[in-house]
Symmetry: C2
């Protein structure tokens, strides 16, 4: 069967990380090619014999070396025929979260230079990548309210205040600390540990952890996670 179609398929990943009380995105700077020296999302063309999922993971590994904690398909961008001026490219965007302790980047590969940018300090991006990023940010914000994915942005053991801040900052809302804590704890999926975090000042704070197994069990029983900040 011969189909006369000359469109290429790429995947791109929007990788979010949370550090220093700010949301970050992982970008790479191309060293060669048309968009040389421009910043862009992690991504590239899909190979004939790999799945889309394999393609994103390969690009993530090759270009940045980060181990993502959460990965899901976001949206497929193909309505702007000239989004890549060289040829028609449809890109399948993925949404990834990285544990803040893993914000360590691979030593410079020969192709790219990878760097974390704070979400409010994004440089000019290649192609339509800025709108893909916008889309991902919205998804992150809404998903945070109905799925416990915030934990994928935190270390395995975290301070309650880190969780609070994560919600405040990403959702750009204020929080009632008491009500927030009550709500989270009421689900029984976050557990206190015996350990304490090391904070410079103030009363020492306990470390907490997310019990994913418990969450998965609850899910089977029609459980609904939901956090709404006023």
């Amino acid at each position: 069967m011969v189909i006369n179609q000359n469109i290429k398929i790429a995947v791109d990943a929007i990788v979010f990380g949370f550090a220093n009380n700010a949301l970050h995105v992982l970008l790479i700077k191309q060293k060669y090619g048309l968009i040389k020296n421009q910043w862009a999302l992690v991504g590239g063309f899909v190979k004939d014999d790999e799945t889309l999922y394999q393609a994103v993971n390969r690009e993530l590994e090759e270009e940045t070396g980060v181990k993502v904690n959460y990965l899901e398909q976001l949206y497929t961008f193909g309505d702007d025929i000239h989004r890549d001026p060289r040829l028609r490219v449809v890109t399948i965007a993925y949404f990834a979260l990285v544990n803040s302790t893993k914000l360590v980047l691979k030593a410079d590969t020969d192709a790219e230079d990878a760097k974390w940018f704070q979400i409010d300090q994004i440089p000019k991006l290649a192609f339509d990548h800025i709108s893909i990023l916008e889309c991902a940010k919205k998804r992150l914000q809404s998903k945070l309210t109905y799925q416990p994915i915030g934990f994928d942005l935190l270390p395995k053991e975290f301070l309650f205040s880190e969780l609070e801040n994560l919600y405040c900052i990403i959702l750009e809302k204020d929080i009632d600390r008491r009500n927030f804590r009550k709500k989270i704890m009421s689900y029984g999926i976050v557990e206190e540990t015996e350990k304490y975090g090391s904070n410079k000042n103030g009363r020492p704070a306990k470390l907490f952890k997310f019990n994913k197994m418990k969450y998965n069990k609850l899910l089977k029983d029609d459980f609904q996670f939901y956090i709404n900040l006023a």
Copy 2:
């Protein structure tokens, strides 16, 4: 720029309709080609010079002639490399809703035979179309609870009982008619008309309509539609 990639891009549409108190899906039977005589989702290859959105709309028009009321991108299927045994095809699936008064099909084109199937009487489908359909059904169910898309499956003016049934049947849940009506009416986006529907038996029922403009206005004001059936 030459990229060595030989993957083709298709679009498929899962078109839902609601009639006779049952959810229906629109399928076509191929008259030619490898999957001759098999039932499949509406869809086809994307042309080089059309957007994805144009491609779905074109296929819908060409193969069925239905005018859809709601259309959104669902998911991109490309993780099964051999989903089409002839060549590698990645398909971008769209999710469509049709007003039940428009369940009229185009007179048989020369390529296909289109037909509505009740959701619990789906024949064997080509490729992986059955799993695409499953995915669409889940999306419909969840979206029904947080966006007023049920109205896109009903005629402009409808009986309250039709809305009730739509929710019961699609969500496969029971309903408390009083609480349901109170909830819907509390949002102020459904209005009573002066007209009455024609029912064979029982007390005559008023016709209602969805005020989309009002809904859009509310949206700007952080309004959240939410219907949860116990």
